[in-house]
C-alpha cells in the first residue's frame, strides 16, 4: 500500500514539475527571426487567409471601441488576404493578462499598450523588433512629432511604434479661484500662495491621490524644475537639487494645509470626486479630464505651464506603444497591419474621442484639434515641454515601470502627504531606485 501511494505521489510530483518547467521553458527559448517565423507560417504565401489577433487596450469612451472595430473592418476589406480579429482588452490586470498569454504561447500578434509595455516584454524576450517598419515609415516622410519614435528604442532596436501621447496637466476650478480672488498661478511661488489662499474650512488648494496618479504630481514638478530620476548615463540621480526643490515645494504645501492630507488614502477617483465637489481647487490629470465632470465643464480651466524657480518648464508624458510579439506566426502581415494602423487611425480621435493626443503631425492639423481650445493649448504649450520618466536619458527602459508603478514613488508620494521629512524619504527612495537599477 505504501509503495502504491509513493508511486502515485511521485507521479503527480513529476508531472506537475514537468508541467511547470515545460511552460516556462518554452518561453525562455529565443524566438526565431522574422524570416524563420515567415517560413514556419504554413498559410503565408500559399493564398490562404492569414489571421491576426489584435489586442487593443481601452483608450477611450465606448465609442472608441466601435471606431477601432470599424477601422479593423476597413483594413480587412482593403486586405483580403489578411483577417485581423479585434479584441478590446481591459486595463484591469493587464499585466497578468499579457504575461499569462505569453507564457501560455497564446500572445496576440500585435497589441497596443502603455508607455513601458513594449520595453517590459522586450526585456523578457517577447517583442519582435521593428527596425524595418520604422525605416520604411521614415523613408516615406517622417510624420511623427519630435521625441516620440526615437524613444521606442531598446537595446539599439525599435521595439514599438508610438501612437499616442499621454501627458499630465494641471486643471483648476475657475469658480473657486474667482471666489477667492486668485488668478491661475504661473510660477511655483504663485502656486504655493494661490493654494494657501484657496485652503481653509475643510477646503484645499490642491488634491493629490495616494495612488500612482499622485506620483504624477511629484514627477511633473521634478521635470518642471528640469530634474529627473536619472542622469544622461541612466544612473540614478534622484537626490539632485532640482528634485529636492520639487519635493520640498510639495512638503511645504502640505505644511501650509494646502494639500488634502486625506489624499494619502485616496484613489484617483476619490481625488476627482473631491475636485468635483469643490473641496479642492487644483488637480493634475490627463487631457480631456473635464469631460469626466460634464456638469462642471465650464467651471474647469487648464492652467498654463508653471515656471520653476530656475526658469524652466516641463511635465511628465508617456508615449503609448503599438508592438508585435515574437510568437506571431505571421510577422510580415502583422507589420503590414501595424503600418496601416499607424497611418490610418485618426478616427480614433475624431470619432473615438481618445483622451491622449496623437503622435502624428498631420493628425494634429485636423480641426478636431485646431478648433478645440483645450486640445490646441495642450498640443501647443504642453506637449513641447513633455519629458519622460527617464529624462534626461533619451530612451525609455523596463525598470521605469517598477519605479513608477505601485512601488517606490507611490510610497514617496504618500509620505510627502503624511508630512514626513523630505530628506529622509528621498534618501529611502534613492536607495530603492538604486536597488531596482542594480546600482551600488
Amino acid at each position: 500500500m505504501k509503495k502504491t501511494m509513493l508511486v502515485l505521489l511521485t507521479t503527480v510530483l513529476a508531472a506537475s514539475a514537468a508541467g511547470c518547467s515545460g511552460d516556462a521553458g518554452q518561453q525562455s527559448q529565443p524566438s526565431g527571426s522574422v524570416q524563420d517565423a515567415a517560413k514556419s507560417n504554413p498559410s503565408a504565401g500559399n493564398g490562404a487567409k492569414v489571421e491576426l489577433q489584435f489586442w487593443d487596450m481601452v483608450w477611450g469612451p465606448p465609442e472608441y471601441i466601435d471606431t477601432a472595430k470599424a477601422l479593423v473592418d476597413q483594413f480587412n476589406s482593403e486586405n483580403p488576404n489578411i483577417k485581423v480579429s479585434y479584441q478590446s482588452t481591459p486595463w484591469n490586470n493587464w499585466y497578468q493578462t499579457f504575461t499569462s498569454a505569453i507564457a501560455a504561447g497564446t500572445a496576440p500578434d500585435i497589441s497596443t499598450g502603455a508607455g513601458y509595455q513594449a520595453f517590459q516584454f522586450s526585456q523578457m524576450g517577447a517583442i519582435l523588433p521593428i527596425d524595418d517598419v520604422v525605416d520604411e515609415l521614415k523613408k516615406n516622410g517622417d510624420d511623427f512629432l519630435p521625441n516620440t519614435v526615437d524613444l521606442m528604442k531598446y537595446d539599439n532596436h525599435y521595439v514599438a511604434l508610438p501612437w499616442a501621447i499621454d501627458i499630465r496637466v494641471p486643471y483648476y476650478r475657475k469658480d473657486l479661484f474667482q471666489q477667492a480672488g486668485v488668478t491661475p498661478p504661473k510660477t511655483w511661488e504663485e502656486l504655493r500662495a494661490a493654494a494657501k489662499k484657496l485652503s481653509g474650512n475643510g477646503k484645499y488648494g490642491m488634491v493629490m491621490p495616494g495612488d500612482t496618479g499622485g506620483t504624477h504630481y511629484v514627477f511633473s514638478l521634478m521635470l518642471n524644475n528640469n530634474g529627473g530620476l536619472f542622469n544622461k548615463d541612466k544612473k540614478v540621480d534622484f537626490l539632485n537639487s532640482r528634485n529636492v526643490e520639487a519635493v520640498q515645494l510639495l512638503a511645504d504645501m502640505v505644511k501650509d494645509g494646502s494639500i488634502n492630507p486625506a489624499g494619502a488614502g485616496f484613489t484617483g477617483d476619490d481625488a476627482t470626486k473631491s475636485f468635483g465637489q469643490g473641496d479642492a481647487a487644483i488637480i493634475i490629470k490627463n487631457p480631456g479630464f473635464p469631460a469626466q465632470l460634464p456638469e462642471l465643464k465650464d467651471k474647469i480651466g487648464l492652467m498654463d505651464p508653471l515656471t520653476g524657480p530656475h526658469g524652466e518648464k516641463g511635465t511628465i508624458y508617456w508615449i503609448n506603444n503599438i508592438m508585435l510579439y515574437k510568437q506571431s506566426k505571421h510577422p510580415q502581415e502583422a507589420k503590414q497591419f501595424m503600418k496601416w494602423w499607424s497611418q490610418n487611425n485618426k478616427a480614433l480621435w475624431t470619432k473615438g474621442h481618445v483622451t491622449q493626443l496623437p503622435v502624428k503631425k498631420s493628425f494634429t492639423e485636423d480641426p478636431y484639434f485646431k478648433d478645440d481650445p483645450e486640445r490646441k493649448e495642450i498640443l501647443e504649450k504642453w506637449i513641447p515641454i513633455g519629458k519622460t520618466t527617464a529624462y534626461p536619458y533619451p530612451a525609455v527602459f523596463p525598470e521605469l515601470n517598477e519605479i513608477e508603478g505601485e512601488g517606490v514613488m507611490q510610497t514617496l508620494t504618500q509620505e510627502i502627504m503624511l508630512g514626513k521629512d523630505p530628506k529622509a524619504i528621498m534618501d529611502k527612495a534613492n536607495q530603492t531606485m538604486k536597488s531596482i537599477m542594480k546600482e551600488k
Binding site: 500500500m1 502515485l8 505521489l9 503527480v12 510530483l13 506537475s16 514539475a17 508541467g19 511547470c20 518547467s21 516556462a24 521553458g25 518561453q27 525562455s28 499585466y95 497578468q96 504575461t99 499569462s100 505569453i102 507564457a103 517590459q120 523578457m124 524576450g125 517577447a126 475643510g202 495616494g210 495612488d211 488634502n260 492630507p261 486625506a262 489624499g263 494619502a264 488614502g265 485616496f266 476619490d270 470626486k273 473631491s274 465637489q277 473641496d279 515601470n401 517598477e402 508603478g405 505601485e406 512601488g407 507611490q410 510610497t411 504618500q414 509620505e415 502627504m417 503624511l418 514626513k420 531596482i436
Partner: protein
C-alpha cells in the same frame, strides 16, 4: 478469511478514494510544487530562470519591507482573530438565549460574512476614506476633528483590522453558537445547584466545552487573516507608506509589479510554513489538553 482476501478488503476503500485523492493532489499539490520551484529560481512570469537554491529565502530576512510585512501580518492576524472571536462569542451567547427577534438577528448578523467583499469594503471606503465621508461627518457633528482613517499610518492599521473583525465575527458567532447548542444543559443545572453564578458557569463550563471549536476557528481565522488580500487591497492597497502591507500583498507586488517571481514565491512559501507551524502548535496543544 485468508490473508489475501483480508488485504484486498482493506485496500478496497483506498481504491475508491484514489480518483478524489488524485484530484485533490492535482489541485493542491500542483500549485504548491510550482510555487516551490519558482521560489528556488530567479525567473520572471514568463521565463523560468535558473536554479538559485535558497538564495531567495535568505534574502527575504535582509529585506526591511519583508520584515515590516511579517510584523504587520502578525499584528493583523492577532487582532483579527481575537477581535472577531470576542465579538462572535459574545453575540453567540446572547443569541443562544431566548431573546425576542432571535431568528432575525441570527440572520442579520451574518450579513458582513455573506456580502461580497468588493461591495462591503468599497462601502466602508466611502464611509471612512474622505474627511467628508459619513463617519467623519458624524464625528464633526459630535464636535470631534475628522480622522484620516485610511491616510494616517496608525489609523490605517487600526481601520483594516477593524474591517477585518467586522467581516469575520459572523463566522465566529455561528461556529460558537453551534458549539453552545451542543453543550449538555445538565452541566449548567448542576453548577447552579452547587451555587455557581453566570460568570463562573461561563468560565468553567462554556469556555472549556467550546475549546475544540475555538481552536478550529482560531486556526482557520489565523490562516484567513494571514492570507487576506482583498480586505487590505481594496481599502489601502498596502498604504499609506506601506503601513498596511501584509505578506500576501508584498508577494503580489514582487511577483506582478517587480516581475520577481522567485522572491514573491519565496514569501508565499514562508507564509505557508508559518501557518502550518501555527496550526500544528494549536492542534498539539488541543490534543495535549484532551489527553
Amino acid at each position: 478469511m485468508g490473508p489475501t482476501t483480508k488485504r484486498r478488503f482493506e485496500l478496497l476503500p483506498v481504491y475508491y478514494l484514489l480518483p478524489s485523492l488524485f484530484l485533490v493532489l492535482l489541485i493542491n499539490f500542483y500549485p504548491f510544487v510550482s510555487g516551490l520551484l519558482y521560489s528556488l529560481s530567479d525567473g520572471s512570469l514568463i521565463q523560468q530562470g535558473t536554479f538559485v537554491g535558497i538564495v531567495n529565502y535568505l534574502r527575504l530576512f535582509t529585506m526591511p519591507d519583508f520584515i515590516h510585512s511579517l510584523y504587520f501580518s502578525a499584528i493583523f492576524a492577532f487582532f483579527s482573530v481575537i477581535g472577531s472571536y470576542v465579538i462572535g462569542l459574545g453575540l453567540a451567547v446572547l443569541l443562544n438565549k431566548d431573546i425576542p427577534g432571535r431568528g432575525f438577528f441570527r440572520v442579520a448578523l451574518l450579513v458582513p460574512w455573506i456580502v461580497p467583499s468588493i461591495v462591503s469594503i468599497i462601502s466602508w471606503r466611502w464611509m471612512l476614506g474622505a474627511q467628508e465621508g459619513l463617519v467623519n461627518t458624524f464625528l464633526v457633528w459630535l464636535g470631534f476633528k475628522p480622522i484620516l482613517f485610511l491616510a494616517n499610518e496608525q489609523w490605517a492599521i487600526f481601520t483594516v483590522c477593524l474591517i477585518k473583525i467586522w467581516r469575520s465575527f459572523p463566522f465566529m458567532m455561528i461556529s460558537c453558537l453551534a458549539g453552545l447548542q451542543s453543550i449538555d444543559q445538565s452541566l449548567y443545572e448542576s453548577a447552579s445547584m452547587d451555587g455557581a453564578g453566570r460568570w463562573q458557569s461561563f468560565v468553567h463550563i462554556t469556555l472549556p466545552q467550546l475549546k475544540s471549536i475555538t481552536v478550529v476557528c482560531w486556526i482557520l481565522m489565523t490562516i484567513w487573516s494571514f492570507n487576506d488580500f482583498d480586505t487590505i487591497w481594496l481599502l489601502t492597497q498596502g498604504g499609506p507608506a506601506n503601513a498596511t502591507e501584509n505578506l500576501i500583498i508584498l508577494a503580489y507586488k514582487y511577483t506582478f509589479t517587480k516581475n520577481d517571481v522567485g522572491t514573491g514565491s519565496a514569501m508565499a512559501i514562508v507564509v505557508l510554513i508559518i501557518l502550518m507551524t501555527l496550526a500544528t502548535l494549536f492542534l498539539r496543544n488541543q490534543n495535549k489538553s484532551q489527553d
